[in-house]
């Protein structure tokens, strides 16, 4: 404490001045809220530039929270997702790259908008059928060159992030977007505790989300004949 002694007055002022500040979040080991809780989707909270997500369990028993296969999208669903990601703002829509690949499974949609120069990620919560609520942007606009290249033959590059709900303490999920070479025709991610999950792949663009962490997951790339071309352990950006 010798380095503080000559500042006793300031130290006391700081400590007493902060004494009424308390951390209000409940302990993470308390029981989670009901997974049947209704969606709070749409409550977007922008915190220091980071969107906070409303993370929810399924509102009914018919929709799984997550699946190892993505849903197949209709053109109308793609359009609805695009509209939801651009908040219905035509100017924003015009400024975005086109939808490259959309991963919809269970309670979450990860839409990846990309071209050769720009990329934008968007996370949505499906509500009431084919309606979507904007839950937040995981990523903003960046370039394919920002992706981490982990393999050159075939080309595999990705960005992976672990996200935690600001509302539901303890609910974490991982989002991966990436780019693969033309010889890659199928991408899976071995998710710890859940097994292989089929990533959404379109024209070399990849996206997938899964509950849990990025670390421990492994990406596998296959060619059209089902031969494994690469296997890459994943890690956070």
């Amino acid at each position: 404490m010798h380095d503080l002694r000559e500042f006793d007055d300031v130290v006391a002022r700081i400590r007493s001045g902060l004494s009424a500040v308390h951390y209000r979040r409940p302990s993470p080991v308390r029981p989670a809220r009901s997974r049947r809780a209704l969606s709070l989707a749409g409550a977007l909270s922008v915190v220091a530039g980071v969107a906070a997500f409303v993370i929810l369990g399924p509102s009914g028993g018919s929709t799984p929270a997550w699946a190892d296969q993505p849903r197949k999208l209709t053109a109308e669903q793609t359009e609805r997702i695009t509209r939801a990601c651009t908040l219905g703002d035509p100017d924003l829509a015009a400024s975005m790259p086109p939808p490259a690949v959309i991963d919809w499974r269970g309670i979450r949609v990860v839409a990846f908008f990309a071209d050769e120069h720009r990329m934008v990620e968007c996370v949505l919560d499906p509500v009431a059928g084919d309606n979507f609520e904007f839950a937040g942007g995981v990523g903003g606009e960046y370039a394919p060159s920002d992706l981490r290249v982990v393999n050159t033959d075939p080309h595999i590059s990705y960005s992976a992030q672990g996200i935690e709900s600001s509302y539901q303490v303890g609910y974490r999920f991982a989002v991966l977007v990436g780019r693969v070479g033309p010889e890659v025709q199928r991408v899976t991610v071995d998710v710890p505790g859940r097994g292989d999950a089929e990533a959404s792949l379109n024209d070399g663009w990849v996206s997938i989300w899964w509950p849990g962490e990025v670390d421990g997951a492994t990406l596998h790339a296959f060619d059209a004949r089902g031969r494994e071309l690469a296997s890459e352990p994943l890690s956070l950006d």
């Binding site: 902060l18 302990s27 993470p28 915190v47």
Partner: protein
């Protein structure tokens, strides 16, 4: 894992860690998010972390590392329109405004040294370990920071 043990640690340390983080990062909302992330990681590592000589320091270091990673990531997000919307105003903190302003006005390294050494009451070596600097550097930043704070608070009172 002994959840009850972790829960006790959480309850005992959360306020001090939050106060230190509020000072270190300036934004109470960001501090709230970072601390939540850090405690979640602490929970996942609790079987080993419980034997750490200073688990509070581990939590703060993790939170500050998360902040660094977050800002690195945000640099590439800045151009996205919906990140340019006006953020929600930060909640009022029950802190004397001039003390808060004086703390927020310190340079980053001085503010972090004050947060860890004074608010969290880590010793100089622990503070140095968290910040990844030498103990001598901590002492220098602390001295400058506290000197500036004293001057700032005294000046306010004279006025």
């Amino acid at each position: 894992m002994d959840d009850t043990d972790f829960d006790r640690f959480y309850r005992r340390t959360r306020d001090d860690c939050y106060r230190a983080l509020v000072v270190a990062v300036r934004d109470p909302i960001e501090a709230d998010d970072l601390l939540s992330d850090a405690y979640m990681r602490a929970l996942g590592r609790w079987p080993t972390l419980r034997d750490h000589p200073q688990p509070r320091a581990w939590v703060l270091r993790t939170a500050l590392n998360l902040q660094r990673d977050r800002w690195r990531r945000l640099r590439r997000f800045a151009r996205l329109p919906f990140f340019q919307q006006q953020p929600s105003p930060p909640p009022d903190l029950p802190v004397e405004p001039r003390l808060l302003a004086a703390l927020r006005g310190l340079p980053d390294q001085q503010r972090r040294a004050v947060a860890l050494r004074v608010v969290l009451d880590l010793d100089t070596a622990e503070t140095a370990a968290v910040l990844g600097v030498s103990p001598g550097t901590v002492t220098t930043h602390l001295y400058r920071g506290l000197t500036a704070l004293r001057a700032s608070l005294t000046a306010e009172e004279v006025l």
